[in-house]
């Protein structure tokens, strides 16, 4: 049986912080640590024009390249401006299925089986997918197989065959996924929370079998023809190559692909329709899954740096953030406790805090959540808390660039998301300019406990304190079985 290895925290969280109070208590070890001297670190954010090459082919295809000769490997990541967000709810599955079958359904020159055989024999991979706001095709090959890999990569991007047997396979896989979507309490709570707040906006809508069952090959080829043009694609390459030679190869293969502007449908805007109250879904499980929150910000908000630090102190910084410290460490109520304040969303993202605790202590966990929401709005954090949050962001920054593949993908994403191109050069300066008072200011401005939605998935018969009305209006909602045929 595959052994489950348990980790101390659920995911590899980047950050955490301690809730050292203002009181000046010091451990003996902190004096030793203060005496350690660290040599200067020589490092700068990699830049286009220096470590990274950016070039645009005649047909508009944008390339980012970074050489890394240590291991004989080459990776490529294409990002395509597309996504299910451009489609209506009823058509939302087209992007999803097109994204999968672009690769699984073979290409003009390669049947699905031959594509699988060729790639697996050379231990390479080419995979594709289309999400809400972008599409991607990735490739990983041993350097010696670059030419073959590039040819397949190109064919998957430009000439997917959308084999009908693979379309029906993909549809039936999706159907089974829909059937199983209520098996995991965690996925119920995240799905229903998004649906509650966003309603029919693409950020909240839920895939149903009705939207999938009638999709056919013509839908996919039309979708592909609409969005897949070289001037709508960027590709990041990293690995064991000579950049000039690689650009030549790419020109030879991709050069004949003619540019063609894409006529993008208008994007639906998020309606800030707050849904204060408590929504309780009954399921026979032994833990209450809780999520609390409301709308947050768009990624162009200049307060995003202060918000990141504020959320780090509140509940984003894992162990020693305030929520974790109290719910997990002090009271032993939960294993996983965290708050998330999205700062990278194009339209309004979300702020939410979540945990899972034994059903009887659901009420207590919520009490602590709201005490902490109030506290961070009322008082500025201690200097120690503030410095820990700030230093964590600053010192951890280097790890966002510790592999060439990551460097090129990040720089390419800046351009895709319309960030200023010197975003990373200015990033540390922006973090450093956040003040202690900013933390309280953004907490007051962007957290509003009165308009938060609380979603609980739990066995309601096991609540110790049945009455949740102290947190707002209680609405019991039934978990519907998915409709499949």
């Amino acid at each position: 049986m595959k052994r489950i290895t348990l980790t101390l925290i659920t995911a590899l969280l980047l950050f955490a912080i301690s809730g050292l109070d203002a009181q000046e208590r010091k451990s003996p070890g902190s004096n030793v640590i203060a005496g350690l001297v660290y040599p200067e670190l020589e490092w700068k954010v990699p830049e286009v024009g220096k470590e990274v090459t950016r070039t645009v082919l005649k047909n508009g295809l944008i390339l980012y390249l970074m050489e890394d000769r240590e291991l004989p490997l080459i990776s490529a990541n294409a990002i395509i401006k597309t996504g299910s967000i451009y489609d209506s709810k009823e058509r939302m599955a087209v992007a999803d299925i097109a994204g999968s079958v672009m690769r699984s359904g073979g290409t003009k020159s390669y049947s699905p089986d031959s594509l699988n055989s060729i790639l697996e024999f050379i231990a390479a991979s080419v995979e594709s997918g289309i999400g809400q706001e972008s599409g991607s095709v990735s490739m990983s090959v041993l350097a010696k197989d670059l030419d073959l890999g590039l040819k397949i990569f190109y064919e998957v991007l430009r000439y997917p065959a959308f084999d009908t047997s693979k379309i029906s396979l993909e549809k039936s896989q999706i159907k089974e996924g829909i059937r199983r979507r209520n098996d995991h309490p965690g996925s119920i709570v995240s799905r229903e929370f998004d649906r509650l707040l966003y309603g029919d906006h693409p950020y909240g809508r839920v895939l149903e079998w009705d939207y999938v069952k009638d999709i056919g090959r013509d839908d996919l080829t039309a979708y592909h023809a609409k969005y897949f043009h070289p001037d709508n694609i960027m590709i990041a390459f990293a690995g064991d190559f000579d950049s000039k030679k690689l650009i030549k190869k790419i020109e030879n293969i991709f050069g004949a692909w003619e540019k063609s502007p894409v006529d993008f449908p208008p994007l639906p805007a998020v309606a800030l329709d707050y849904k204060p109250g408590i929504f309780i879904i009954n399921k026979e499980i032994t833990q209450a899954n809780i999520r609390v929150g409301h709308f947050g910000i768009k990624r162009d908000n200049p307060d995003k740096y202060a918000i990141s630090l504020m959320n780090f102190i509140l509940g984003g910084g894992s162990f020693t953030s305030r929520l974790t410290s109290r719910v997990r460490s002090d009271e032993g109520l939960a294993y996983s406790v965290r708050s998330v304040f999205s700062t990278g969303s194009r339209d309004y993202g979300l702020f939410y805090a979540f945990t899972q605790t034994k059903t009887s202590t659901a009420h207590r966990a919520l009490e602590i959540f709201f005490e902490e929401f109030d506290k961070i709005r009322r008082d500025p954090p201690s200097v120690a808390e503030f410095e820990t949050a700030r230093d964590s962001y600053i010192n951890n920054f280097i790890f966002q660039f510790d592999s060439p593949g990551e460097v090129v993908s990040r720089l390419m994403s800046l351009e895709y998301d319309d960030y200023p191109l010197d975003y990373y050069q200015k990033y540390l300066e922006n973090i450093r300019s956040v003040t202690l008072d900013d933390i309280k200011r953004v907490a007051e401005k962007y957290l509003d406990p009165d308009s938060m939605s609380i979603l609980i998935v739990a066995d309601t018969s096991k609540f110790e304190k049945q009455d949740f009305t102290d947190f707002g209006n209680v609405i019991y909602a039934a978990l519907k079985d998915p409709k499949i045929d």
Binding site: I4, L71, D391
Partner: protein, 516 residues
């Protein structure tokens, strides 16, 4: 602390790996310190960062019933600090923790007593003990500086900070900007030399919640736990890493401290460091910080219980409110034993990629399942080779199970084609190269192999052994191990679809009829 005169470099062994096709050179440098601590280093200046793993050669397989979950609980506790870290006044904490320990014993006894069917008392004593413990915990909080170790790492840029426990090992990992290596050496040596298991009882509750999250309310968690419990009747792979629920209610600070003393000594550790460092500097630094920690006076207790051969198929049904899942497992050899590597090849032939036999047959052609995965591990003790599948409605678990056996029978009869074998060999070569990409990934592989075999370079030997596997080996191993008698099968079924009750009732009826 007693000083131990350090022996000069006992083993200094630069090794160069030469992969045939791709000419990968990798200098792995090792050193064993006089207290037994083993160090593995790779110098690599891709970025000014460094990744460290401290690997203890102890996991849940070293526990015994009554204290299951201790290895994992101890891993959590090692983040609670020392007399130097996490406290403003350790001396003041000691009497409080001793009082809490005594009350916790009484509380547990009271709870156990209250569960007796003959118990006639009320909950007043339990509530009073709980209140006393809570008030002592509050008093101790005045001295505790919460999660100082964690906070210090983060403040200094710690990335991927975490720890994990498995059946076979426990590891603590972090990556830092490379100029901060000394901070790591200070904090890790401090918690190895002198951990303080403060806040033990609230952390025990945290772990209980972790169990609820990962096992009790997770379809694969539920299934996996019962699968292992059926497949292993004697050996300690029987219980879950997180521990049995009842043990998590009755394990005490003293038990976990004892576990620490038995297993957490320098002679039971491997440290792997990969990144922008100088080997000689690392050796000096570790000598300075870890060199004085004495080895254990008692030898590390071995696991002596051996799983007896399985003499018949075992089938388990697990009722749970989720769509059906299936796991099938056969006992296989431990890592390094004869034939273990053959199982690695079999798992790739069966389920790696879209050309693999189970994927092609069950997912693509017959469309009986949405996913099928075969898994073989390199473990300290003989484990199971498992196949897990998620049936696709309207197909039943039984259909999926039969289809798996058909594919195995076909592979056993005909053996793999030369193309299939070469496909797997090429993938294994490439895996090896890709495994070297990240500092932490490399550190993990080196530490794991060094801990399990005493020799990190077994990674290369294993690669060679796998390359040498023939079609004949595959057929032989399938015939020998993949038998009905050596097999355990676990089904996850919805309560309303589990007809075992009906069978019991039928049996009872027939017995009664017979009695008439």
């Amino acid at each position: 602390m007693k000083k131990i005169v350090p022996l000069l470099v006992m083993l200094l062994l630069p090794v160069s790996i030469q992969a045939k096709k791709e000419e990968i050179k990798l200098d792995v440098k090792t050193h064993t310190f006089s207290n037994g601590l083993e160090l593995v280093v790779v110098e690599r200046d891709l970025s000014p960062t460094v990744s460290m793993i401290v690997r203890f050669k102890v996991g849940s397989a070293d526990e015994h019933p009554g204290i299951t979950g201790s290895a994992h609980l101890l891993e959590h506790m090692l983040f609670k600090g020392t007399p130097n870290i996490g406290t403003a006044d350790y001396q003041a904490e000691i009497p409080l923790m001793e009082k809490i320990d005594r009350l916790a014993l009484q509380l547990t006894a009271a709870i156990q007593e209250s569960r007796s069917p003959l118990y006639r008392g009320d909950n007043s004593r339990i509530n009073s003990l709980r209140a006393q413990i809570a008030s002592l915990q509050d008093e101790q909080k005045k001295y505790i500086i919460k999660d100082e170790l964690w906070e210090t790492y983060l403040k200094n840029g710690g990335s991927g900070l975490n720890a994990s426990t498995g059946n076979d090992g426990t590891q603590y990992y972090v990556s830092l900007p490379s100029n901060r290596l000394e901070l790591w050496a200070y904090m890790e040596s401090d918690r190895l030399a002198n951990p303080v298991l403060r806040e033990f009882y609230s952390e025990r509750n945290v772990v209980y919640e972790e169990r609820r999250l990962r096992v009790d309310n997770s379809p694969y968690g539920k299934l996996g736990e019962q699968f292992n419990a059926a497949a292993f009747t004697a050996h300690s792979y029987n219980w879950p890493v997180v521990g049995w629920a009842s043990d998590l209610e009755t394990v005490f600070r003293e038990d976990v401290e004892k576990f620490f003393r038995q297993y957490y000594s320098p002679n039971n550790i491997v440290i792997a460091i990969v990144g922008d460092v100088d080997f000689n500097d690392v050796v000096k630094l570790i000598q300075r910080y870890f060199g004085d920690i004495p080895p254990s006076t008692q030898p590390v207790p071995p696991v002596t219980t051996v799983e007896p051969p399985q003499d018949g198929e075992r089938r388990v049904a697990v009722r749970y409110d989720a769509e059906p899942l299936l796991s099938i497992g056969w006992h296989m050899p431990a890592g390094g034993a004869v034939d273990q590597e053959v199982f690695d090849i079999i798992s790739s032939l069966l389920s790696r990629g879209r050309t693999s036999r189970l994927y092609k047959s069950l997912v693509e052609d017959k469309q009986l399942a949405t996913s099928v995965n075969a898994y073989s591990g390199f473990t300290r003790f003989p484990d199971t080779f498992t196949i897990s599948a998620s049936p696709k409605s309207p197909h039943s678990i039984e259909e999926v199970e039969q289809a798996v056996y058909e594919e195995i029978a076909r592979l056993a009869a005909d053996g793999p084609t030369e193309w299939e074998l070469q496909r797997v060999r090429n993938q294994l070569d490439a895996d090896y190269v890709r495994g070297l990409q990240s500092n932490m990934g490399m550190a993990y592989r080196l530490a794991d192999m060094q801990a399990k075999t005493g020799d990190w370079s077994y990674l290369i030997k294993l690669k060679e052994k796998r390359q040498a596997v023939t079609a004949g080996d595959i057929k032989r191993v399938l015939a020998e191990y993949f038998t009905t008698a050596n097999r355990t099968v676990a089904y996850l079924v919805k309560p309303e679809n589990d007809n075992s009750d009906a069978m019991i009732i039928k049996k009872t009826e027939s017995t009664q009829m017979g009695a008439k």
